[in-house]
Symmetry: C2
Subunit: 134 residues, 2 copies
DNA sequence: AATAAACTATACCAAAAGGGTAAACAATAT
DNA sequence: ATATTGTTTACCCTTTTGGTATAGTTTATT
């Protein structure tokens, strides 16, 4: 029951981008150094943030990464989902056919986990980069 | 970001025990059949519930498992922790020395995750077996 | 046009976690 | 004694995780 290391790195990368002057391109190496993240690994996860519309990139000299949206419009759930995919506390919440009893709709555990998952999602959603950067 | 299959099985096993007459010993095989859980796997995870004081067991003819406490005093967090150990959303929440930046106390991500984790724990804690059994 | 600086896309790899099975053992009721 | 039922430990295969390597593409600059 935890976030992956990749998500942790993504949180910190995005937060760092948010702390820089808006629109300024920051090189991967600068992010990696500042946040003490393995450079190669960071380079691998950045495309997921780009595909999710959280970050934009520019290649070539003077290139790098910058936020694609204002910090108010990026929250921790956005970043987590970009890296790990949607949260499913239990596999029966992905698809009810995963329930070994084939009883998901009436299952009391299923229902409880569904509520807890929603609450977790909304907690993550409640932290925007702007909030965190205070 | 999910519970393990073992935890799912444990939730259902404990819930089933709670649905039986108090103090009645239920065989592993009955739990496994009712909840459609691989019998051997169930047998492996039950001792964790016993060590946590959630379930008691009796060997020999007529033996089996029963809740060790009333359903009001067992919640989903208890069961999850018994199987998976404590929740740590990020490794820096286990021990700050895991933070690759060695900056956990001031880290904004660390602080946010700490709050989200507490909230998740209290959500899980808010569902007792008695609540679920209605 | 050439070159160097950045990011991109794949592939690969080792270690750990997850999910499950098996076998030998210990306790208990009959 | 014996059959029943849980306990312990070891083993195994697959998937995930965390990370590195290599070759390729874009772009600013000269």
């Amino acid at each position: 029951m935890n976030i992956t290391q990749a998500t942790d790195y993504a949180f910190r990368a995005v937060l760092y981008l948010g702390s820089q002057p808006a629109g300024e391109m920051v090189e991967a190496q600068a992010i990696a150094r500042q946040q003490v993240v393995p450079m190669r690994f960071l380079l691998k996860i950045m495309p997921s943030l780009i595909k999710a519309g959280i970050v934009k990139s520019q290649r070539g000299v003077g290139g790098g990464y910058a936020l694609a949206r204002p910090p108010e419009e990026i929250n921790l759930l956005d970043v987590l989902v970009a890296i790990e995919g949607p949260i499913f506390l239990n596999r029966c919440l992905i698809d009810e056919s995963y329930c070994s009893r084939q009883a998901a709709p009436e299952c009391l555990v299923h229902q409880a986990l569904e509520n807890i998952q929603k609450s977790l999602e909304s907690d993550l959603e409640s932290y925007s980069l702007a909030d965190l950067l205070g």
